[in-house]
Subunit: 124 residues, 2 copies
């Protein structure tokens, strides 16, 4: 497990500011265009693919699939497949995913709450 | 100021899950590859361009310039230029930027603190 920037071996704590730290790699999964929004949408709610896609405005099927796959690999999302016809697949957050969603959600709420001031700064 | 998804006019609160909400647009500035890391690096510290670049592993001059410009437009970053030779330019966070940095920082700390569990899920 390579967690640290090899240039900074003395620093034993993961650090997103370090180029090769794995925490930055994972950070990109949570903060890329759709990752955080998927975490938010699944917060305290289990959803099927189509419902999840409806909840996240503008996401394509392909991007949603890719994002779910990455978040599943990171241990944030649980994919539960029921062996019925037609196939029924449900997505939910693991406890780890709930933790990430909580922090991403706090950032999102803050941005929503301060949007007026930000748009004023932008002169819009 | 267009803050809301026109399909969801009944919802008067900004919502990052809405495709056309300006909060998602600003969210992308804070959570794109370098935006959040710049906010973190400037947290409680004023830095010149070169020092800021050294602090953020792997960022190119061009990407750092672009990111700073966007964050300045959003009202998160203050650029102070001293009229001396050679030119001396300092970057710091506005109170609004400190707010964004606080929430992005909480997410980053959480990811760093839970990295071991995440990497275990990834089988790495």
């Amino acid at each position: 497990m390579k967690m640290l920037d090899t240039d900074k071996k003395e620093n034993l704590r993961p650090d997103v500011l370090s180029e090769h730290c794995q925490s930055r790699f994972v950070m990109n999964h949570v903060t890329n265009r759709w990752g955080g929004l998927v975490l938010l949408a699944l917060s305290e709610e289990t959803l099927r693919f189509s419902a999840l896609r409806r909840k996240i405005g503008g996401v394509s099927e392909r991007m949603l699939s890719q994002t779910l796959k990455t978040l599943e690999e990171d241990g944030f999302v649980l994919r539960k497949s029921y062996d019925v016809v037609p196939p029924h697949v449900e997505y939910s957050l693991t406890p780890l995913g709930e933790g990430a969603a909580k922090h991403f959600g706090a950032l999102a709420r803050w941005l929503e709450d301060n949007l007026e001031e930000i748009m004023k700064a932008r002169g819009e």
